[in-house]
């Protein structure tokens, strides 16, 4: 091997390759996309898979909702249910029987007609415990669905879902559930193409390649044309979808944009139309731009700290209330969070279909110090210490550090921080070995019940040790029987007041959705569920003129 190059020869080669490269990276994807009707969408992490009955994350839901469609669909502007595969539905007098009338035009992407039997078979697959569907509880309002899903019931025939004929599906509910139609938009209730699945193995098999590009059969507005791992997923307009005339996009490309700073940079150089989120410290920069692409809107979710009320010193309600009153939520939001969110004083986000939660307290340091003194820790003496557990993330750290100092200044108490890696944090919360832990809950459907049922004694996601029979009774028995929405909300209001008096958790803020959306993207409204309906979205080529 002869190393005979000399420094003189090497220099020209080096300069050559520098000039070759410095010719810019050509036309940006956004400009191309606007011309070809292709939306470039920053989708967060790499999707796990596309089987509606297996996936759990948000990134997966965006793609599954493009490839499949439920019986009903959320209108992106009003969030009210719209006809999907079911062109209409009627609810019985006592609200316990729902009959869906399927749209005869509804087709699978391989041309097969959609039938009611598809739904019976699909719901059986979704509820089958062997499937391991973590969102099976979406169908629990259906009679005996929970029994079947927990293995107590073998025969699926007893579950309240029947195909009266090819195009009529009748569902028998356990009790009147006003939000049941909304659940039909959740992908774990979607129908899946039986022949395709059975071609590759048993119904409940998780390893089958039926969701591969060459095999997948869906019934949504788009079909899957390319999936390059950790690179991009491309879907194109389906020509079998019943409402295809309304669809104005020719295709969508989803990018796994895990690193939020890189995602923002891709947006800035025109590689993305839409970003999943935005780095906290970039918010003031974008907000200052005129006709900025920064979009901020309320989002159906609450950020709060779980309090383990079985562990000292949190078993004393006065301590819990003191901790909550000592926090200046407005100041936290305006400084560290750059006014991106809304301070919260309860669990239910304000304006959830018109429901306004009670506000029992505000930022009151004097009252907080008094409460703490009553509880036996005057000016922080004898304070045993308190540990706040949170999972590793930029914003969680910033909030925790700010609050740690607020408690120190206001109550002169020591709060130590324990930053844990994702799975370790989940394990700590699950095993209740924490004193105070960060928690965020995003609504599955737009109804106060989805937030208030968190703190039921048997609530799977309670994790506070709080259990009040009177509260349970109001939520599980009284509310469903309310004859009108006002009466139901009054019961919810009373229940939430009782809850906040006990303060098993410290609400911090109500989520907001934060995205960078290119001005050329039209009819992609922000809504409380931040839900994406690609059927309505279109790209306006001469967006600059409009500005």
């Amino acid at each position: 091997m002869r190393l005979h190059f000399s420094a003189r020869q090497l220099l020209p080669i080096f300069c050559l390759c520098i000039t070759l490269v410095a010719c810019g990276s050509g036309e940006s994807r956004v400009v191309q996309g606007n011309r070809d009707g292709i939306l470039h969408y920053g989708n967060g992490t790499e999707p796990q898979g596309l089987d509606p009955h297996i996936v759990t994350g948000l990134p997966e839901s965006h793609i599954v909702r493009a490839l499949f469609e439920g019986l009903a669909v959320k209108n992106p502007f009003t969030l009210e249910p719209e006809p999907g595969v079911a062109q209409s539905w009627d609810i019985s007098e006592d609200g316990r029987t729902v009959t869906f009338h399927l749209n005869p035009q509804a087709r699978w992407s391989n041309g097969d007609t959609m039938t009611a039997d598809d739904y019976v078979w699909s719901w059986r697959r979704a509820l089958n415990p062997a499937m391991g569907n973590q969102y099976a509880y979406m169908l629990y309002p259906v009679e005996n669905a929970e029994a079947f899903a927990t293995g107590k019931l073998e025969d699926f025939a007893e579950v309240g879902v029947k195909a009266l004929d090819q195009h009529t599906l009748q569902v028998q509910l356990v009790t009147a559930t006003p939000y049941f139609i909304q659940l039909m938009d959740h992908y774990s209730t979607f129908a899946v193409h039986r022949p395709t699945i059975e071609k590759f193995g048993k119904a409940t098999d998780r390893f089958t390649p039926w969701t591969r590009v060459e095999n997948i059969v869906g019934n949504g507005a788009f079909t899957l044309t390319e999936w390059k791992l950790n690179r991009r997923i491309r879907v194109e307009k389906s020509d079998t979808y019943w409402d295809r005339d309304r669809v104005r996009l020719n295709g969508v490309v989803f990018y796994p944009t895990e690193n939020i700073s890189s995602e923002e940079r891709m947006f800035r150089v025109g590689q993305l139309h839409y970003t999943q989120t935005i780095p906290l410290d970039k918010i003031p920069v974008y907000r200052a731009m005129e006709n900025s692409s920064y979009v901020n809107a309320p989002y159906l979710g609450t950020y709060y700290y779980l309090l383990n009320i079985n562990k000292a010193p949190l078993q004393d309600v006065r301590v819990r209330r003191a901790l909550s009153l000592a926090i200046d939520r407005a100041r936290l939001n305006n400084t560290v969070l750059h006014a991106a969110n809304v301070p919260a004083y309860g669990i239910t986000p304000p304006g959830t279909l018109g429901y306004q939660p009670p506000k029992l307290f505000g930022h009151d340091v004097a009252a907080a110090r008094e409460l703490l003194a009553d509880a036996g820790f005057p000016n922080g003496e004898g304070w045993p210490g308190l540990e706040l557990t949170y999972n590793t993330s930029e914003s969680h750290r910033k909030i925790a550090v700010a609050l740690q100092q607020m408690w120190k200044d206001a109550l002169n108490i020591e709060v130590t921080l324990s930053n844990q890696e994702w799975k370790v944090y989940l394990d700590s919360v699950d095993q209740m070995n924490f004193q105070m832990a960060r928690r965020g809950w995003i609504g599955d459907y737009v109804d106060p019940n989805n937030f208030l049922d968190l703190f039921l004694c048997a609530g799977g996601n309670n994790n506070t040790g709080f259990c009040d029979p009177q509260y349970d009774d109001m939520i599980t028995r009284q509310a469903p029987r309310a004859r009108s929405r006002e009466e139901r909300y009054a019961i919810f209001y009373a229940a939430e007041t009782l809850l906040m008096e006990q303060m098993p958790f410290i609400p911090i803020y109500t989520y907001t959705s934060n995205h960078l959306i290119h001005p050329s993207v039209r009819d992609m409204p922000s809504n409380l569920m931040d839900s994406l309906n690609l059927k309505y979205v279109w790209l306006d080529q001469d967006w600059e003129a409009a500005q």
């Binding site: 000399s6 490269v21 899903a149 998780r206 039926w210 791992l229 940079r265 799975k423 965020g440 799977g460």
Partner: protein, 310 residues
Amino acid sequence: MWRFIAYRLLQAVPVILAVITVTFFLVRVAPGGPFDSEKAVVPEVKAALEAQYRLDQPLLTQYAAYLGDLAQGELGPSFKYPGRSVNELIAAGLPVTAELGLYALLVAMVIGGLAGVIASLKPNTAQDYLPMSAAMIGICMPSFLLGPLLVLVFGIYLDWLPVSGWGDIPGDKILPAITLGSTYAAYIARLSRAGMLEVMTQDYIRTARAKGLPEWQVVTRHALRGGLIPVVAFLGPAFAGLLSGSFVVETIFQIPGLGRFYVQAAFNRDYTMILGTTVFLSTLIVLFNLLSDILAAWMNPRLRTQFSEH
């Protein structure tokens, strides 16, 4: 020669086996399982999931089953990506990481090598300190700082190079390679400087000068070969370091490499994925160590003749 390679490869098998065993049990000790998620999972569903992936069997049987599959080259299904096998994910990720590692090594050798050689010509003068300090920047600027900085300057302000991606837009491999390679440029600069200084004091350099050759020919024709052997011997460990550090660069530049899969797998307790990536990364490291040892030996004629004799 081939006996030597066969011998080293044979030695690699216990090394990789040890790596698998250590990782297999270490991962299971970590708190949190593959199926925990923020929304509490119904116990029955969790049990069903664990049964599907044979996690409910005793640890030793799982270990034996895993080795059995591994023998046939089957790395098992991924927990996090149902429907995809670890083989498939690695097949997608490995070539990218290896390619990124090679380009980074190239960058490190060019920057480090040039800096080291130039510095060694006039030790302890400005011509020594300037290139060495420039190469030193690589060490004190971590990739999670250098990457974004390069992207800002070349990607956004100058708009010369793409901001992210791998292989889609021409030129998108340059910034990641520089970011990853710069750390090792410093090591290589120091090694090549020391190597060259050592060689320049050798007698055969004086002979070359006595022949009346100009200084730059003395350096390139005579000094370079001997001076750069320590650098070549260092390529093996450097590549190992690059592979380990690659996933930061992969996250910053959205590169579909194995490193990124690995971190996701570690954080999601995707046991089969962790094992699969560890096995492949270790094999890549062992192979590359072997390659750099052979290359270093090949450059030295004395060892080369010994090789070809037996």
